[in-house]
Symmetry: C2
Subunit: 456 residues, 2 copies
């Protein structure tokens, strides 16, 4: 009996039209990455489990796809661990490799491993798939593509400024307007936690703060109260929700409120310096966002998050921040890092929703050559070869099906031209061309026609 | 303690220079695929085990990378199967997915699954990684990239001819001369087996024949004798080893010898028709090879294999053939297929050995902007932005390290230009540029310089 053709949940096939769209987006991102001096690297899909485990928290370990050891090695399965419900131990007895979960940890491993083969500051970009056993939903898949650019081995607000500009240039390249680049700084969050007399509870505090958009200030206050923050602390917090004006103005207000907090002041100063580099040219839709606290377990400085235009219901389409010492776990200390990342899959959804993909992407073939008999095609072959050599994409219909069927195919293929070469054309040494968009037909001497005719 | 940074055996990191080379090769292949009307698709790295298992023989099942089920699902491990040494059964109790082993079976699954979304004849190309738990050696890795082009839903010698031409165009595009496209036909092999009175032993026979290069005619005879072929059969075989002349001449000789074998004659006629399409233009280094018997368990017509130039010690760099009914197992019958495949990893090794990569690939950055202080860089930013917008790849050195260190970096980066903008240039409203190849320096008015200056 035939098997049902299907794929694992959360994974996707991409048909030609979708691949064209994805390539369009990655080409724009790649081009911009390269203009900022980032160099491409690639790492293997499978990493050693020891490289990945413990780097993403408990949830990360749980959502990692583990590769079963090959052949006889599975005999070493730790059955006792299984019976004791020690699943992680059981897993590690039969699995030594896992699929990469993001591009950051493999990059850190790469930098440590190849430190003598690269020059610092090292700017790398990487556009590859990652895998997570996450519950699939809109814009969330078990296999998806990340587009990361990171610089390691240098600290300078210039780098942060270039990241913002790079976000902007990518969105410009995609004709995506009104994406908002939100920024914050870990120093500011630490300063606030200190200011609330809860320096060791920065995570509790930021988790609540992060919900401001959803539950409003009162909701945040309630949550913090439940977590044991007292009214004195909450009164201090209030003015922080009322910053107004542009980024610079907000930083001024923040500086006043947090005047007693050196960590916050250092963060504010750093953001100001960063903006000095960005000032002379545009970064559209830059917003300071005190509630932005993503990746706080590894970001040590600036934090970025990019929201799509408000008309699209979708989480962030880009993110990033400064991290330090990410390579230390692999034995390379004091390597400072800064990185940004684009989510290809979400970007594609946003562009689709806003109808921003160029119409030309649907056109993957220039000419469909209709088939009136092998002898006609044989005569045409030298011309077809000549056109192809100049870049024309030619689909030679392979058999003498009925003309109607062949024309239907030409229609579906979105080719601009259908080419007729039959008895009449053979006698006249011409070809007939039908423009598939406006339906007009033209007959041209076969020796006069150049490849440039087809790719205007 | 720090972990050792390393990757699983048989896998590779690609540094920027290597990625540039790989992209160069895939760009050439992709461009040629598209000129022949092939459309890109992508399939997930993970397929259901039921899709892949049993499609590649016992060896394939053994070398497949299986993905462990996530979370609680591993509790269903069939411990009894493990204790009974029924490893395949144990594996399937804890694993429902595997990494794709090639691109052909996923493509067959794709065609069956999406048959109502695509137009036949469907020409697709696919350039993606595949994974095999094979013993690593030169040119053989556990993760490697295949570049496949297949057409399904049509039978015509025109398609075979286009495959040969496509092989040729790709090698031309890579400036790779003297690759040999070897062809054979399953019908000819079946005819020979019949002629030797062993129609049901075509595999035994071709396995021996395949060794002709290594062990010579006598070796092949011995092996066949050991397998029970008698002297009458072997005497009949002798003349087949003595074909001479070009492809057409060899087919003439073969036709005479196998005149009594209809299957062989049909195969010969098909190859002749194919060559009729290729005749008017060149296919360099086309060779008929009676010993070519690869993939005989699925090829049903023409068989291709491409050998690299003799000066390179390396197995085939391309292959292909006609197969029929590959999609039947997924419920879609009578879909004829023809495909060819390039091995990216081997092609890269061959080009490297022959020194055929363009020198320009090493140049990933156009300008390194030296850093004499943030204020200078801030003044330059609008110009840098202008140049980047025109496609110039600019690396702004992020900190005011000693000039010597910055120049060392510029050297290593292979940038053509190092840009100086310090006190002197600021006063003069100029920039100084050092050509890193010839060492010459030039000073230019900052407002006069265009992006085109940097990317000639």
């Amino acid at each position: 009996m035939a098997q049902k053709a299907s794929i694992p949940k959360g994974t996707r096939d991409f048909l030609p039209a979708e691949v064209a769209k994805r390539n369009y987006v990655t080409d724009v991102i790649r081009t911009q990455f390269e203009r900022y001096g980032f160099l491409p690297i690639q790492t293997p899909a499978m990493e050693k489990s020891t490289t990945l485990k413990g780097k993403y928290g408990e949830e990360g370990d749980r959502m990692m796809f583990n590769i079963l050891n090959s052949g006889e090695k599975v005999k070493k399965a730790d059955v006792n661990a299984l019976q004791d419900n020690a699943l992680a131990q059981f897993t590690s007895s039969i699995s030594e490799k896992a699929l990469r979960y993001d591009l950051t940890v493999p990059f850190a491993r790469f930098v440590a491993q190849h430190q003598n083969e690269i020059s610092f500051p090292f700017k790398r970009y990487q556009i590859q798939s990652v895998w997570r056993a996450d519950r699939p939903q809109r814009g969330r898949f078990q296999e998806f593509t990340q587009c990361d650019a990171d610089v390691v081995g240098a600290v300078s607000p210039l780098l942060e400024a270039e990241c913002m500009q790079l976000f902007d240039d990518v969105f410009d390249g995609l004709a995506l307007k009104d994406a908002t680049i939100r920024i914050n700084h870990r120093g500011i969050l630490a300063g606030i936690a200190h200011y609330l007399d809860a320096p060791d509870r920065i995570v509790d505090f930021t988790v609540a703060l992060d919900k401001l958009d959803k539950i409003g200030p009162d909701g945040v206050f309630n949550e913090l109260r439940n977590k044991g923050f007292d009214d004195v602390a909450l009164n201090r917090l209030s003015p922080l929700f009322e910053l107004s004006g542009n980024v610079m103005a907000q930083l001024d207000q923040l500086e006043e409120i947090l005047a007693s907090q050196p960590e916050a002041l250092a963060g504010i100063a750093h953001l100001r310096k960063t903006l000095d580099f960005v000032n002379p040219f545009k970064v559209s839709q830059l917003a300071f966002d005190i509630t932005l606290a993503r990746g706080l377990h590894y970001y040590t400085g600036i934090i970025f998050e990019v929201a799509p235009p408000k008309s699209v219901a979708m989480g962030s389409i880009g993110a990033g921040g400064r991290y330090d010492n990410l390579t230390a776990v692999f034995g390379l200390k004091d390597v400072h890092g800064l990185g940004i990342s684009f989510g290809l899959d979400r970007l594609c959804i946003v562009l689709e929703d806003l109808n921003l993909f160029p119409a030309s992407l649907t056109k993957a073939v220039d000419i469909v050559v209709l088939h009136f008999g092998d002898e006609y095609i044989q005569e045409l072959m030298s011309h077809i070869t000549r056109w192809r050599a100049k870049g024309v994409r030619v689909f030679t219909y392979p058999t003498t099906h009925k003309l109607k069927k062949q024309m239907q195919f030409a229609n579906h293929s979105n080719a601009l031209w259908a080419l007729f070469y039959g008895e009449e054309e053979q006698k006249e040494k011409t070809i007939s061309l039908k423009n598939m968009i406006d339906g007009t037909t033209v007959k041209i001497s076969i020796h006069k026609i150049n490849a440039s005719f087809f790719i205007t």
